[in-house]
């Protein structure tokens, strides 16, 4: 593969003058046996911009996004002056690949006012004059490398030295990881470690839901049921025993109807006897009460009437009226009771009512005189009527009571018929015992029911627990499955680590071998500069022939730069891509002889070498002496003023076979 030509339009210092894009030729086919292209120019003239233009052409914004730096300053100034909104820029790289000739064109538009790109840059790939059917980015991917890996083919020798000096291990690690895709393996490792954590979290979450003692609880409850069932059996046995006892008491297992009838009669007799006893007592009391009924009723009437009237005032006339009312009423309804007005007392059959009642009547007489006569009379008569009703009720009771005497007599007669013998007394005892047994049996049956209800409750709880246990068993199976996956993931992690180690070992052995050989072919002091060794911890060491590492003080910057280029060379060779090398300042600070051998080594790959060199420093008459026969083309890059202040770069292609003198005026 050969980079043939680069055309730049408004990219960095390359400004289009008179519609002619600056062109940089890298390869002349008539000198195809020579594979070195030189771009000569002092620092800041646009050499590095050539490398950047190639990378932007391939990768666009994936390379870098600093459009502001890329767009030519002069073109922006002119656009502003003209009032143009945008500046168009482009880079075109022509490539020869076997019999095919490709043009890769990258186009960009930059908004001058807003200082931002107008749109995404475009890429076109033209093969032998026809646009390729393949996606241009796919084309780049197929023939070249990802952008980050292109730095091992297109790089600045001075930069790699500076970066290395800033942080040795990190720089080496970054390069190695980047170049062999170990970053991806590291990602695999860290991701698998996280996946293992996720599985652990999953197990923990399920475990926290499992109670763990469900099986024991079921067992405990089953044992409880067993005990309760045994208790039921025990109770049933006891009931059976009671049944047997009952049968012992009565052949048929229960008293006969005659025996029960006898028992009932006895009970009824006892009950009636007791009732008669109580009734007799009451009757006696009631008879006493009845004998004084009329007085008591009167007393009752007077007391109630007094309650109604005692607070009312009266005159003498009213008092006499009231006396007349009471007197007429008493005489009319209770003929046996007389009212003695002179003595102000009630007399019944010549017997005087007690002083308390007399006092009450007197109060009544005084009070009933108050108000209207008709009212007193009405109240008095109302209570008389009520007393009559009470008297009737009592008479009814007495009548009923007299009936009980008759009932008692009937029972006694029946008992006399049955006869109260010793045998009958035993039957009564047996019946009592029988009933006691019945009560006990009833209690036991109640206990059984209670226990059986409890058993049903526990069985229901056990069913729930069994459901829970089933769920827990499912969860345990799930945990088992997750743990199996975790184990697999751990194995995958282990394999990834082993792969990483194996691959790193393989890579380091290859890179160390290539780089060491490269180094020994450049620095002839092979006793001291014998090998490059990068260990798995990314330590970069230069070793002597005896295996001892060189101390830092024993390595000058030129030799360190060669070592790092050897390392880069080892990496690029490992990538096994046939791509031209584009190297900035490859010979700067190299000792005489080293520069020549470095180029020889790079040339051995057979790939095109595009070298940017500083005249007077890297590129001198001496350099030309050994480099001249290999030069395919030499471009001299100048800068000049455009207008009053802006500098622009331009390229002059010189005779490759002639040493060009350093012309200070040109710079």
């Amino acid at each position: 593969m050969k980079f043939v030509k680069l055309k730049l339009k408004n990219f960095k210092p390359y400004y289009v003058i008179t519609n002619k894009e600056p062109e940089i030729s890298f390869f002349e086919s008539e000198r195809s046996d020579k594979n070195i292209s030189l771009n000569i120019g002092p620092t800041g003239h646009g050499k590095s911009s050539i490398s950047e233009a190639i990378l932007w052409c391939f990768f666009g914004d994936s390379y870098k996004r600093n459009w502001e730096e890329w767009v030519n300053t002069l073109s922006m100034e002119i656009a502003k002056q003209k009032g143009d909104r945008e500046v168009k820029m482009s880079v075109e790289l022509e490539i020869e690949m076997g019999s095919e000739y490709y043009r890769i064109v990258r186009l960009g538009e930059y908004n001058v006012k807003r200082k931002e790109k107008l749109k995404e840059s475009e890429i076109h790939v033209i093969c032998n004059g026809e646009p390729v059917k393949e996606d241009p980015n796919m084309f780049i991917g197929r023939y070249f490398l990802p952008m980050k890996l292109m730095e091992y083919f297109i790089f600045d020798a001075d930069d790699i030295l500076k970066k290395f000096e800033e942080n040795r291990e990190k720089t080496i690690k970054d390069h190695i990881n980047k170049i062999v895709g170990l970053e991806k393996l590291d990602d695999v490792v860290s991701t698998l470690e996280r996946v293992i954590e996720l599985y652990k979290d999953g197990v923990y979450e399920i475990e926290s839901q499992i109670r763990g003692d469900t099986a024991n609880k079921i067992k405990e409850k089953e044992e409880d049921i067993q005990k309760k069932k045994e208790a039921v059996i025990q109770l049933k046995n006891e009931i059976d025993n009671f049944e047997k006892e009952k049968k012992k008491l009565f052949r048929g297992g229960a008293p006969s109807p005659e025996e029960e009838r006898f028992r009932d009669l006895i009970e009824e007799r006892d009950k009636l006897t007791e009732e008669i006893k109580r009734s007799n007592n009451k009757l006696r009391e009631d008879k006493d009460l009845l004998s004084n009924m009329d007085l008591l009723l009167l007393k009752n009437v007077i007391e109630k009437a007094m309650e109604k009237t005692e607070k009312k005032k009266t005159s003498r006339e009213e008092f006499e009226n009231a006396v007349e009312v009471v007197k007429s009423s008493v005489e009319k309804d209770y003929s046996g009771i007389f009212f003695n007005v002179e003595e102000k007392s009630l007399i019944k059959s010549g017997t005087e009512i007690g002083p308390d009642n007399l006092e009450g009547i007197n109060k009544l007489l005084l009070s009933t005189g108050s108000g209207i006569k008709a009212d007193s009379l009405r109240i008095f008569r109302e209570y008389l009527d009520e007393s009559k009703s009470t008297q009737e009720k009592f008479l009814d009771y007495k009548k009923k009571f007299d009936g009980k005497d008759g009932e008692l007599l009937k029972v006694k007669n029946q008992m006399d018929l049955i006869g109260e013998t010793t045998g009958n007394k035993e039957v009564i005892e047996k019946i009592k015992k029988f009933e006691e047994i019945e009560r006990k049996m009833s209690r036991k049956k109640g206990n059984i029911k209670e226990i059986e209800d409890k058993i049903r409750d526990i069985e229901s709880e056990i069913n729930e627990l069994r459901e829970q246990l089933k769920l827990e068993n499912d969860q345990k199976r799930e945990i088992k499955e997750i743990n199996e996956k975790k184990t697999i993931t751990q194995s995958l992690l282990q394999i990834s680590k082993e792969t990483r180690k194996e691959f790193l070992d393989f890579l380091l052995s290859e890179v160390n071998k290539t780089a060491s050989e490269f180094l020994r072919n450049i620095i002839k002091d092979t006793k001291r500069f014998h090998s490059i060794e990068i260990d798995p911890d990314y330590r970069f060491q230069l070793k002597q022939e005896n295996g001892e590492p060189l101390k830092e003080s024993q390595i000058n910057r030129g030799n360190l730069q060669i070592s790092l280029m050897a390392f880069f060379f080892g990496l690029s060779q490992f990538l096994n891509k046939k791509i031209p090398y584009v190297i900035d300042d490859p010979l700067l600070r190299l000792d005489p002889g080293h520069d020549k051998r470095l180029i020889e080594q790079l040339s051995k790959t057979g790939e095109q070498l595009i070298l940017h060199m500083i005249p007077g420093k890297e590129y001198t008459t001496d350099t030309f002496r050994w480099l001249g026969p290999h030069i395919n083309i030499q471009n001299w890059i100048y800068r000049k003023m455009h207008g009053t202040k802006e500098l622009i770069s331009y390229v002059e292609c010189k005779d490759a076979e002639k040493i060009i003198e350093f012309d200070i005026d040109k710079f």
Binding site: V188, T191, E197, L198, K485, S491, T499, F503, N576
Partner: protein, 64 residues
């Protein structure tokens, strides 16, 4: 031309062969491809995607 990923995958295969487990290689290969193809996926999302690959592969393995 052998891409660096291919070299890694080959080494991976060798490592799986050491323990005589082709299934592991298949899973690991898928994982690796996923990571290569989803370079910018956030770590946690990536872990979940990889877990899904393992779950799926393992699920298939169990169904075989």
């Amino acid at each position: 031309m052998m891409r660096e990923e291919d070299k890694i995958i080959r080494t991976m295969k060798k490592e799986c062969e050491k323990i005589d487990n082709d299934e592991y290689f298949e899973i690991l290969h898928k994982i690796y491809r996923h990571i290569v193809e989803h370079e910018n996926q956030p770590h946690e999302d990536r872990a979940r995607s990889i877990k899904a690959i393992i779950d799926e592969e393992e699920g298939e393995g169990n169904n075989k």
